[in-house]
Subunit: 205 residues, 2 copies
């Protein structure tokens, strides 16, 4: 009998989750640990697997659409693009403090797309880190909030404007995608179209 | 009427694929462009979307399990792990020449997992590049061939041994996962268990 469970509410903690899974499994139940995204990309699936191994419980791991790929598909941001984006780095920056521990100097490559998970609070530190490391202030940036949900929201602009872009978002969590590929995204195209339209309207007046 | 198509055989070329999709769609058919993996991760989905936009054809993009995540789930390699792996970089190195254009100095971070797509041929160059940049020769490496297929195959070892590991694989394509997280993988655990067993057997003789 499959048992759908909802765990992972804030405050329960990883140890309790592991303990619950093990208790349910050893009592004979079949446990489904359902996660958003992919269990092995900022999902702590590795820790859960280790706990199950230690407890001698059989399991299997099912991959998922991690938020970075979900946001990319929904807003049409090709994370790689021929001759333009050859590498992708995923990192997380939940707090400003996290962003301060990142060595931004390795993320200045123009041909690298940088995907920041949980990047809303730390956005000013992400901006400061990348600019100080030498990434161009004109680097295109997309802020994709509540990606893959029906109420998802996108704001695009430049790295320099990042904190202001965050201000336009109605609430997280948000993925930041930083790199030239953002210019291919649907929101960027719409935003440019609107700018051209408003210039034409101004000229017509 | 959905039309399942199989395109992308070697030699057809991206322009022909785009043309075929557009011709089929403009003739009134509903076209499904089915890909392995995720269209926006080394999948050239960005180019296809641009061709469709220019042709004025409505489309939607469905994300997928990119090979790196598929290999990770199948062989239980947590791409991130608390305190141990905080960042992931995806890159491609189809030919040795590709590997030579990579700036390996930005990939020496011990807390970064490096995932190399199509890395079999270029493996000696990947090894040379990372070692020259200062990554430890003892860095754990997994070679995951034909990942997610029933005949998938895994070989694990160290960065220093990478070309020899490739020699143990029966054919590609292969994903390389480089970083400490490989020690958590199922093949690494089995391999260590075998080593312990053979030492015990040696001691017993």
């Amino acid at each position: 009998v499959p048992v759908g469970r909802r765990v992972g509410k804030p405050g329960i903690g990883q140890d309790a989750i592991n303990r619950w899974m093990i208790e349910a499994a050893t009592s004979g139940q079949r446990v489904v640990r359902l996660k958003g995204g992919d269990p092995f990309v900022f999902g702590r699936g590795g820790e859960e697997v280790e706990a199950l191994r230690e407890a001698g419980i059989a399991y299997s791991v099912v991959p998922g659409i991690t938020a970075g790929l979900g946001a990319a598909a929904q807003f049409e941001v090709p994370l790689t693009f021929r001759h333009e984006a050859l590498r992708i780095t995923f990192l997380t920056a939940h707090k400003a403090k996290d962003a301060e521990t990142v060595d931004w100097s390795v993320l200045t490559d123009e041909k690298m797309t940088v995907v920041v998970y949980m990047g809303m609070t730390a956005a000013p530190s992400v901006r400061a880190g990348l600019l100080a490391a030498g990434r161009s202030p004109q680097t295109p940036v997309g802020v994709f909030a509540r990606a893959t949900r029906p109420d998802a929201q996108a704001v695009v602009g430049t790295l320099d404007e990042l904190p202001a872009l965050i201000g336009e978002i109605d609430g997280g969590p948000a993925i930041l995608i930083i790199g030239d590929v953002v210019t291919h995204s649907a929101p960027w195209r719409h935003s440019n179209l609107n700018q051209v339209m408003s210039k034409l309207l101004d000229a017509a007046e």
